[in-house]
Symmetry: C2
Subunit: 416 residues, 2 copies
């Protein structure tokens, strides 16, 4: 595909991508948008040019909205038509598009693309679950007996999900040294988690599960997700009801939601599951995407980003469809904009571990940086960025950035 | 106080109460409402009669809304003014009120009163935490070491919170008999949890904690809460990330939110905490309410409700203010309508245990019903109701009902 907008083959946003997002216009309202090359496309301005048979039936500008939810809720056929319309509109040789609809990406104020009412985080990477299990319980009991039968997950905090670039305040809270006495202070083990998020286009009626064969139809698209974690707060609080404050201070997502259509050339089968799962989880299309994930760091004294880990979305044990079917099997109702995190995606080798907890092996090793600095966990001023990309024939599909900078904890006068 | 609306001293809704809710009008729109005696008061119809200094500044009918969030977000002073206005409007001898604003409670279609974006459940009753701990780990290790330092909590599912009277479909899912092999089927250990919910009027900026001294100012009011639980699904899934599907199929709340003002005559100090908590949790007003809680059952063969347990909101170890301060200490942002569950509130004696898990002691005992039936957990067709009430001098403050009937699990064709 060739576009009227110029970009090189490493650009994350060729005409083959057509991601969706939202941005604040110069006038201060929020519009839905897409991106081609280094141009953000204001879809609200172009709404009247969407002349396909489905869009022609709409009476409301679904892009002149504070987020993508209204558009996403229209479902797959509308999403496909929007994609095709944009690919035609910006094809090489197509008539020029209203210049008011094009904003330089460097100028665009991207905001959180969807209203996420409910956020659930899974634990679907076997490498990650195994690594954490070894650290806490040793190699013999690393994986809990339920792990190969259940896509283990838990409810996360939706309100504190922020978009790429939002500073992350180091949390304060309770930790312990001796396992029984609480200590007050700033988290000393602040970590990232390299994840992918799945955003739903629509949900299910309360009480009615989503069958696994239909689960993929509920996907609007995918985001990068950094599920920031405080390991020392987590360790003290998480028994018996799971992580709470250790996770709820912030999670960062990429501004762009990339659709299943854009990722389809990179679909890859997942290894057969052994032991087999119960029928409601049996996925005839057990698959993920061959999507390279990178997490990089830039400390205050570094000029360049340094890659800490390279993983891949193919290192999941459970498919996204399995997590959707599992989530709704009790009749739990899902809705447009709900986000399901994959859990930290770690590769099989240390070079692909998706958290500092694993990279420093629970604090036993140091992570050497190219400028001579060392890290175990994140220090104030450190910036973390995550990217996800796949190379096609002459093009790259990506998500942009998913970054955040650690700012110092507030002083105690803010707390008591 | 005497009202122009007649009611007896056991009615939950005297002029001293003035709870808030929402209902669907005969015309099909949703209005905010209150209740006095057996009359539901349509506040949207009466909005123009709210002539206090604060309400006079409003340009929008905050009661002509799908839920209470807009009104709640105005904060305590508006809530107090609304309360006083209604108490004057319906005082004995006051001019007659537009009859269109009064709906018989038996006719009113009450809906969920607030949009709850985020729901968190705590574990604040020591009796309950101890009982569950004894069943799982024995009396020596019943309470985890963190329990007396941390108001333990976890994120719940907001989307599946339903209002009084909504049928509850028995969930299906994975359970295990041997601790390692999954079994498919309907939950055999379906339970209730007797809780109170706290609904926030407003939250905090992301990154900025709510100090405990200010925490009570964030409370809009309280609801009854039945956090339905599947004990067999829970047992298999909950290690290591906590309860997930065991809870997310449904939680029921009362249609009425009762304000701190209505409950203030029943405020009661909580026992001093030993050991003491960290400064951010030190509550100068460590208190709860002397509110009698009842959970009753009616099986398909029973004509009358039978009380299974009588507990009290005073059987909390942590104050609601402590749970708010704890939740936000990492900077997690809360918002209008967020609900914090207390966790199951169990009294010190068996007659006050707040779940069937405790009443049947993990399945070891049977719960005898007056008609000769026995239960350990809930069977299809069983109805459960919860009430909360406090007796003042010649009046009663209550929440109405918080009920649900168990309907059979769907057949397997809905799942695979």
């Amino acid at each position: 595909m060739k576009s009227s907008i110029a970009y090189d083959e490493n650009n994350h946003f060729p005409l083959e991508n057509i991601p969706f997002g939202a941005f604040k216009t110069a006038q201060g309202s929020t519009h839905c948008c897409s991106r081609i090359g280094d141009k953000v496309i204001d879809l609200a301005v172009l709404f009247n040019k969407f002349d396909g048979p489905l869009f022609k039936t709409l009476t409301e500008n679904v892009f002149d909205q504070p987020n993508l939810n209204k558009f996403a809720a229209l479902g797959k056929d509308f999403r496909l038509e929007a994609r095709e319309t944009l690919q035609k509109m910006f094809a090489e040789g197509a008539p020029a598009v209203d210049a008011a609809a094009l904003v330089d990406a460097s100028e665009a104020n991207l905001v959180i693309p969807v209203f996420i009412r409910d956020y659930t985080d899974f634990y679907s990477s076997k490498n990650h679950a195994y690594n954490v299990g070894v650290m806490f319980r040793g190699p013999e009991n690393a994986l809990q007996p339920n792990w190969v039968h259940i896509p283990v997950g838990y409810h996360g905090r939706a309100s504190s999900i922020v978009v790429d670039g939002t500073p992350i305040v180091r949390p304060k809270g309770q930790t312990t040294t001796d396992g029984k006495t609480p200590e007050w202070g700033a988290s000393k083990r602040l970590d990232f988690e390299l994840e992918m998020g799945t955003v739903l286009s629509h949900g299910n009626e309360h009480g009615k599960p989503i069958k696994i064969d239909n689960a993929r139809d509920h996907i609007f698209g995918f985001t990068m997700l950094n599920d920031w974690s405080s390991r020392d707060i987590q360790k003290w609080e998480y028994v018996p009801l799971g992580p709470f404050l250790a996770k709820n201070f912030a999670s960062t997502i990429s501004p762009w939601i990339v659709t299943p259509e854009a990722l389809s050339p990179f679909k890859i089968a997942l290894p057969a599951q052994d032991p087999g799962v119960l029928p409601y989880l049996q996925d005839k299309d057990l698959s993920s995407y061959d999507l390279t994930l990178d997490v990089s760091i830039k400390t205050p004294t570094m000029d360049q980003w340094h890659s800490l880990s390279k993983s891949n979305m193919k290192y999941l044990y459970y498919s996204v469809a399995q997590t959707i079917a599992h989530h709704s099997v009790t009749g739990c109702n899902m809705d447009t904009g709900d986000m399901l995190g994959s859990g930290t995606i770690s590769g099989p080798e240390k070079s692909g571990y998706g958290s500092m907890l694993e990279l420093c092996w629970g604090g036993k090793e140091v992570i050497a940086l190219p400028n001579g600095e060392e890290r175990k966990f994140l220090l104030d001023g450190d910036e973390v960025n995550m990217t996800a990309s796949a190379k096609g024939n002459g093009f790259t599909i990506g998500f942009g950035n998913c970054s955040g900078k650690i700012t110092p904890a507030l002083d105690d006068s803010h707390f008591f």
